[in-house]
């Protein structure tokens, strides 16, 4: 149990003496690549041959795509399907990536290997933080495009910034109130990134720590470990992947309204 909180970090590119500033968590990169490879494989198998009467695999993929299509459509309240095509690929691939990433801890490591091979990329704060920053940058960009750059910043400057028909003292007081509201709103936007990324990270790493500790306490009695996996990996992983995706989607929706 001493491995809790430890990370396999490379500070040099292997077989060279080129240093990596700050180091890089190898397992996160490796598992993220495995997830991307799996997703490519699944997508290839899914679109290889389309039939009018769908087989089992095509049915599952079409149901999934249709469900997310409707979800994006209704959450963003977009007028046309063409608009929807801009957001649907992002949201659906974010969900698929997170879902498979959260399930990675379930795969066992072959016994002859000295280190753990499979762990959730989402159990690394750098992965979830970069996904969170990505979501907020996209939401901010969409918001700026929908409202204009001045519109975006005047929304950050608080409700009293742009008043209709205010003159004299009321106008100056309204503009001065931005000194108070602007920092608060900027901090609020930053806190969105912290909360969305730490929510996913905390749930996934919490589940993996509980699985490690409890299986050690019961001397690796495997049926109990499988039961724990069922809840902490599959239930919590699915719920948190969905919540992360929906929150990104809703931040975009709040931004463009």
């Amino acid at each position: 149990m001493e491995q809790i909180g430890d990370r396999l970090i490379w500070y040099f590119i292997p077989f060279t003496d080129i240093s990596i500033p700050g180091g890089v968590n190898v397992l996160t990169i490796f598992n993220a690549l495995v997830v991307i490879g799996l997703l490519f494989g699944i997508s290839y198998l899914a679109v290889r041959k389309f039939a009018m009467t769908p087989g089992r695999g095509q049915y599952v993929v079409e149901t999934f795509a249709g469900m997310f299509d409707g979800l994006v459509m209704s959450s963003l309240e977009l007028p046309t399907r063409r608009e929807n095509r801009r957001f649907f690929p992002l949201i659906a691939s974010l969900f698929m990536f997170l879902l498979l990433s959260n399930f990675m801890g379930f795969f066992p490591t072959p016994l002859f290997l000295p280190v753990t091979l499979f762990q959730e990329p989402t159990a690394d704060i750098n992965c979830t933080l970069s996904l969170g920053i990505m979501g907020m940058v996209i939401a901010t960009f969409c918001s700026m495009r929908a409202k204009g750059i001045m519109g975006y910043f005047s929304e950050l400057a608080g409700p009293m910034w742009s008043q209709e028909g205010a003159t004299g003292g009321a106008l100056i007081a309204g503009k001065l109130s931005a000194l108070f509201f602007f920092p608060l709103n900027v901090i609020g936007e930053m806190a969105k990134i912290v909360s969305i990324s730490f929510r996913l990270f905390g749930n996934i790493i919490g589940g993996s720590i509980i699985i490690v500790v409890v299986t050690t306490l019961v001397y690796n009695f495997s049926p109990l470990a499988a039961g724990l996996d069922l809840f902490f990996v599959f239930f919590v992983g699915t719920v948190q992947a969905f919540v992360f995706t929906m929150l990104t989607l809703t931040y975009i929706a709040v931004g463009i309204k």
Partner: protein
């Protein structure tokens, strides 16, 4: 630290830690179970013919809602029987066990209490709509399971306390352990109650308007996840104190600094957790009644929750300033 010998310190830690874990951790679950039982009684009066189904729903709700207190029991037993050894002896042992006790005790208080609302709402719903009892029960279980994640965070922090030696010693170890325990435990208290209230609203809504239960479930999950933000801030502060604290004064100054940061992050999260849970409760009911405007409801709820959580953000800023700047 020198006025008690190592063995006495270890006993002090065991007794206080286990007492805090079970004493605080049992309150919430018991109140929550009582809430479900009261609603079940009311429901049986309204629908005496569905007595068996109602009794079963009540028992399932109480069993799932009781699991936070089971977490507390497990941690309490670990505290009582964990052997002292390695770096963790004497006063440090007392610090980690008391910290683990506070974290799990306060953390399970909230989730246990919160799980009472969906349990009660499920009994009410089954009495109103007995044919939907299976789907009502399953949405109750999902709501309760997600409402327990603050107590799972608290369990994780308690396990880290028990299985990993703290990086500091002396009086500062007490500060780090008590501070991280309060940050996590009190930080999980409000969110546990709040996400339970949101689940209660969702179970109520989906029992009255079963045809819109899909959108209600979605709103519930998001409402619960957002109302758990203060618990995440508490966990963040606890993680920083346990793993990433820059060189800390080992005497009374480091003690006060870490304890103050923990109190700010922990107690600052109680109100926002409960408040944004209430917002989620109403949003779930509205979504169930009017599934057509669920996107609008969701946006309004998120903005309201974000504003009600600004105090948790201020508390987090104070905690980070205490740890890194002042």
């Amino acid at each position: 630290m020198e006025f008690l010998d190592a063995h006495t310190w270890e006993l002090v830690g065991r007794y206080l830690g286990a007492g805090l874990a079970l004493g605080l951790g049992g309150i919430g679950a018991a109140v929550g179970m009582g809430l479900s039982a009261g609603k079940a009684n009311e429901a049986i009066i309204r629908q005496p013919s569905e007595q068996g189904t109602l009794l079963r729903t009540m028992l399932i709700g109480q069993a799932v809602g009781g699991s936070p207190s089971i977490f507390a029991l497990v941690i309490g037993l670990l505290i009582l029987f964990k052997p002292a050894g390695g770096d963790v002896v004497g006063a440090t042992f007392a610090a980690v066990t008391i910290g683990a006790g506070i974290s799990i005790g306060l953390g399970c208080f909230g989730s246990g209490l919160g799980c009472g609302w969906p349990g009660g709402a499920a009994c009410e719903g089954v009495a109103r709509n007995p044919r939907q009892s299976t789907s009502i029960t399953s949405s109750m279980i999902i709501g309760q399971a997600v409402a327990q994640s603050p107590s799972i965070f608290a369990t994780v922090i308690a396990l880290i306390f028990l299985f990993r030696a703290p990086s500091v010693t002396g009086l500062a170890a007490f500060g780090v352990c008590l501070g991280a325990g309060i940050a996590m435990g009190a930080g999980a208290l409000g969110p546990g109650i709040g996400s339970g209230t949101a689940a209660g609203g969702a179970v109520h809504g989906s029992s009255r308007w079963p045809q819109s239960s899909g959108s209600t479930l979605r709103t519930m999950l998001i409402a619960q996840a957002v109302s758990q933000t203060p618990a995440i801030f508490g966990m963040l502060v606890a993680f920083i104190m346990l793993f990433a604290l820059p060189d800390l004064d080992l005497g009374i100054e480091g003690f006060a600094r870490t304890l103050g940061a923990g109190i700010a992050a922990g107690f600052g999260g109680i109100g926002p957790g409960i408040g944004s849970g209430t917002a989620g409760d109403y949003a779930c009911r509205v979504t169930a009644a009017r599934p057509r405007i669920d996107a609008l409801t969701l946006r309004t709820m998120l903005i309201g929750q974000a504003v009600s959580q600004s105090t948790a953000i201020y508390a987090l800023i104070i905690a980070l300033l205490l740890l890194f700047v002042v």
